[in-house]
Symmetry: D2
Subunit: 424 residues, 4 copies
């Protein structure tokens, strides 16, 4: 995280032009006066508490009108289980991309994909890619693996004890499974992976999570497993934690990329050359030239996998459909591959870390649930299909943006669509 | 992205239990029948087009009521510049975390941080951390670098030509800067970095972007630079692209982690032991034990940097405040460090890739702008402060979640707060 | 792989100071004149061919005397199977580090470790660490996993065919195993991992390799498997390769780090504080301060794992003992952890990618075999022990160098020991 | 570093089949009996000390004959400065690869490259690639950057002090440079990069190192800088280390890959299709198919960069020519790119971390120096040329091995060449 001295110097001069060294010193020093901006202790979503929170913030009436509008007030109860210190709602515009034809193991048919974003041109670009895919017969998509893990960590006096503990845990797998699965109707323990690092042991418990994204489910199951461990292990750990940061939760990791976290999906499409020309105003050859240069560009910038911009579509889909937007940090990894064929262009995406679910989390919030219904993916048996749609959407996005980069329309699209804004 | 054969076999059996091989074959095959779900071509946000889109999707009246409520209809014009194929808005509940005292180069004072999320316990957890920080005098925060880059790529016949091109580009830096800066009032070219990979050249143009997050700004400036290059370079590239995937845009990358993308901020706090005990129900020693084990856990899972869960707070802050939620994929990297001191606990976070701005993007949408106003960061001179608040928030989140993991309250907090939901 | 423009400019000026642009252009251009330096076609180790090679190189008599000394001539036959285009031998000085006490699952006792290096102070430093370990009762070491893989890749027309192929492969595992194991007396197929990336399939076949390091063994076994596949698969690949660069062979990879390649070993030692002070002239506290800062230093430089300098000891051990020195590129990854305890210092290393063997490769070359004999690890049942010694050696090296860095003796040791050289 | 439970269980059963749990427990326990295998304290290379070391090891006369042969005894003095606890020399067979025509900024002409290895087929394979390159006019090679860094770390009470320290350091750059450069005739400070992570500061001092590889040079210079810092900084660090593991020394790192460490070189060649067919028995198309699949294979296994097997050639070259073999761990990273052209195949390699020098280290040892002389790279002005030869050699190796993988000759070559060995 180093900064070149010239750049650091420029920054320093800029700071010192605005403030004296003394002033900077003062700004950076602790201030022990008590705060006069305390919020009510009770975090619940009750009208009087909401009112007190607005008072505490100074009660900007314009802000309040935007966040705490009538519909929000009416729906307040619906948010109770998902938020604390509630003051209202933020509204993101939703646009439809599609139709997006998916020939998947689970997803079947033409989807209108709701995307919530404030980035101009994003929906138009994904929609263009989706329509291209649909025009050529759809994309094939396959969920090829699934699993969400928690990774408790256990500390011992020494490696010998750690080894004995692991031997016991391996031999006790059935009991550990029973302890974990007793806490959940839908979660199933699929795998246990063991890491010994000196006198530390990490146990990665990987579950299938049914229709849920599953982070809470696996946490609760793993806490039950840990209770069993602490009560029964022949060697008692000096200390342990239910999650020792070895599960990849909420961040891009090589481990989840190389294995799976959530659902792993691959999707592909074959596009005849004339469709590339007509829809994207470029050629298969140019798109493959782009892919090659951009794959090396990704490699040379040190990304996990290589792709263009999965995060754009995934963030918009996750927000619209009540998924955990923080999981964009982990989900937006994978590989995109383009190849020239005798008849045109082959394109594939593979995303090993799609954290999606159709129950739990934000999926039952009013407008989010509406988006899932629009997709036709609000009922049982829909989480795998949602993962395949997410991968298909990513494929659509890669095709469209790379098409724009090849035809020279990349910034033009942004310029035109963002024309009424003034952020340059 | 490999799957163990036992796990792959289990998955295969599960698939074949539900479908015959023939049926799977059929599901995965292209379907060339024309789609009957086409959307209107015109992507604009006009009432009649919105109406036609709802018709095209089947017009689920419940869904429509949730997405296209009266306030949304009334505000429709406000979304025109940020979305295509508009059908309504999705509403995320917003809770306040704070007060969060920041003693920054730019941020000063006690902030109520609006967080938009559907993850139960998230706001409560960040708020707890924020209050702890405030109680001990606040955290110190420093923007230490800034810059957003675009990375056009140029292909040549051979390395010799590539070298000549680079020599020219280096000697033409003033002209390139002039071409780029002519397109923007606020963007300034801070650095050019040059990559030669065989006969390919990548030029990373890094800009400071004023109050904006700046992706569009740097795209437009770089397109102007490319036009200058194509008109003037003594060696004409065989082909070029305005972005060759070497800028780190929308994805976690070692390059942005090691350098900067957006704003790089470091924040720290010293917490006396009694505050750790009272607020977090654990000890500095336990938290440092956790940090050590979790740092190794992160390293062993192959993350970029090591930290706990920056994405949770950043996603919630970005969504509430009109930032680009897709940037969570790149922003949620950095390092967290905890250390035991004579008097208690030292904690620091460093995030080199905070993509935030207070103009442009979604910052002027009604409810998002309201959130920025609540923060007091809606005017000029506020983007650096927003970055410092984002880092301080990340520090608060790390303290609180690690406290919960140490005191054994991690899943209990989730269980209690998520009690009315039924996702297990 | 970007270079800052100022640095690039300085480099360019330096080049142009020495050569005109025309001269540089000429130097970089292809030269199609036939070469007059051709070597004999026959690559074998025969005296007349060796003679002809020396003639072809200009027959520098001093060089010849150093490379083709009498002993080398006498031993020439011993090199025949390990080299082509032989001209002599290069001699590396070997020093002993030790005694190094290892309390391992396999390694037991006090080892004198032969290290071949030309880096002054290296042997002294490792020896100091080894003696410290021995003085406190030795280090504990455990091989915790093993496996070497080959990863053939198969290309299909589409994902559907790829899926059918994988289903067949999973169901044919016994036959694939039989085909592979038929080629080897010692190799056993331990695992198959499957990767589907669009219409590409990678099959990672992981073998235990007995006393050998095993790369050739697994290559031959995998080629037999591929022959079986091509003859029997219901879907014939468009093309395939016996190794598609997905095995981690000869390079550091997250996959091998997260899983295993070769042998995975962890080793630890508890050192009373007075031993730290006496042997390393520093304190446990200072060493833990170093560890913390250096762990973050490693993380921030983007290494795979975090450690100090495993490569130094491993390269010297590998060269001395006839291991494949190229494997240092993959073996020198892992994690080092230091922790302060009530009585002193806890230190552990974990190396998941130790590519060692005691038969095959260079292990039967005369002087290399002598080094294995010195270690007492030349017979059957010794490869796991060699891996544990390699990890113990790495632990010794980390202790010693970090001790030197903490006591301020780091460069002094180098200065003193390198005093007769003149490379500054 | 996790192991699947089935694999862990198999391993556990295997251990318990050979040893009882009690026996394993005993093996892993500390043994505090004094060692009876102590070596002489004096580490120098004197005959009587060598004798005493052989006595200490048990004096295996066969081993001694192989390591301490007459020539080694005669040359003993030549090793004094490079080794401690000397007992003899290990001999690696050297083969010539070539001629290898390099059209470089620094390297010019047809090289016979000495390679020291015990891996059968390695020299033959590199030689085949070299001859192919030479036959088509040679490869173009360019050193495009250079620099070796040391990264001292400084700890402060708080971030504010850290900031003040950095401000001082930036303003004192001339004095720091003077302090460092005073220690060296050839080293020049090229850059300082600054990292602030909470209250920790890392200063990366990057030097050009003339003809030396330079690690010792930069260590000594940086120690002098640290002395200046400690004497003059207005804020005294709580503690500091001359190297805080942020320089990439001896390990693959994203930082060195993205920047430079040692010398960064790119090399390319254009090969007409008929040469591919004749020399490699395959087609440009097949080689590009391989490249594509192997590039994705590398990406999916999480390597730093993507390439095939740089380590093979580099390790053999480094050992033959007295380079630091431990540096193979860092040098063997980069990117290989193959592309089909109108006339055949385009191939390029880029290696940003070539740690080579022609003075210092092992370059003056008798046989190593002979190898440098054979290359014609033993005098002043040769280090850059050696780096270009190393890159050209890597290119030759990639061409040859990929050719073998495409033509199906990969394991056959190994089988034939390793035929007299018996390691399967």
């Amino acid at each position: 995280m180093a900064t070149d001295h010239a750049q650091a110097n420029a920054w320093l001069r800029q700071l010192l032009a605005e403030h004296s060294a003394e002033s900077l010193h003062a700004r950076l020093s602790a201030d022990h006066t008590p705060s006069d901006r305390r919020l009510p202790l009770n975090p619940r979503t009750l009208e009087r508490l909401v009112e007190r929170r607005w008072q505490a913030t100074g009660n900007d009436s314009d802000a309040r009108a935007q966040l705490l509008d009538d519909k929000t007030v009416a729906d307040m109860g619906a948010y109770e289980a998902n938020i604390e210190n509630f003051i209202g709602t933020v509204k993101l515009p939703v646009g439809l991309a599609g139709p997006l034809r998916v020939n998947g193991l689970f997803a079947q048919g033409d989807y209108h994909v709701p995307l919530a974003t404030s980035e101009a041109a994003l929906v138009a670009s994904y929609s263009r890619g989706a329509q291209l895919i649909t025009a050529v017969g759809g994309c094939t998509a396959m969920v090829i693996d699934e699993g969400v893990s928690r990774a408790p960590g256990f500390a011992f006096d020494n490696l010998r004890d750690a080894g004995e503990f692991v031997a016991w845990a391996l031999q006790s797998l059935d009991a550990l499974r029973a302890a974990g699965e007793a806490t959940t109707r839908h979660g199933r323990l699929r795998n246990l992976r063991v890491t010994i690092e000196g006198n530390h042991v990490y146990l990665n418990f990987e579950f299938s999570t049914g229709e849920a994204s599953g982070q809470n489910m696996v946490t609760i199951a793993t806490e039950a497993i840990c209770a069993y461990v602490m009560a029964n292990a022949p060697v008692t750990p000096r200390y342990h934690f239910v999650e020792a940061n070895h599960s990849g939760d909420k961040k891009a990791s090589a481990q989840s990329f190389i294995g799976v976290r959530g659902r792993k999906v691959t999707a592909e499409v074959h596009i005849p050359g004339e469709h590339v020309r007509k829809a994207l105003h470029t050629t298969p050859e140019a798109m493959v030239d782009y892919w090659r240069m951009s794959a090396m560009g990704g490699v040379m910038s040190g990304t996990i996998g290589v792709h263009g911009h999965y995060a754009n579509g995934l963030a918009a889909l996750y927000i619209a459909c009540g998924q955990d937007a923080a999981c964009v940090a982990e989900s937006a990894v994978g590989v995109t591959r383009f190849e020239q064929t005798d008849t045109g262009l082959y394109a594939a995406v593979t995303l090993p870390n799609l954290m999606v679910g159709t129950i739990g989390g934000g999926t039952s919030l009013p407008s989010q649930n509406a988006c899932l219904r629009l997709l036709g993916l609000d009922g049982p048996g829909s989480a795998h299909a949602l993962a395949e749609v997410a991968a298909a959407l990513s494929l659509a996005g890669e095709l469209s943006i790379i098409g724009a980069l090849c035809s020279g329309h990349f910034s033009r699209a942004h310029e035109v669509l963002a024309r009424v804004r003034n952020n340059t």
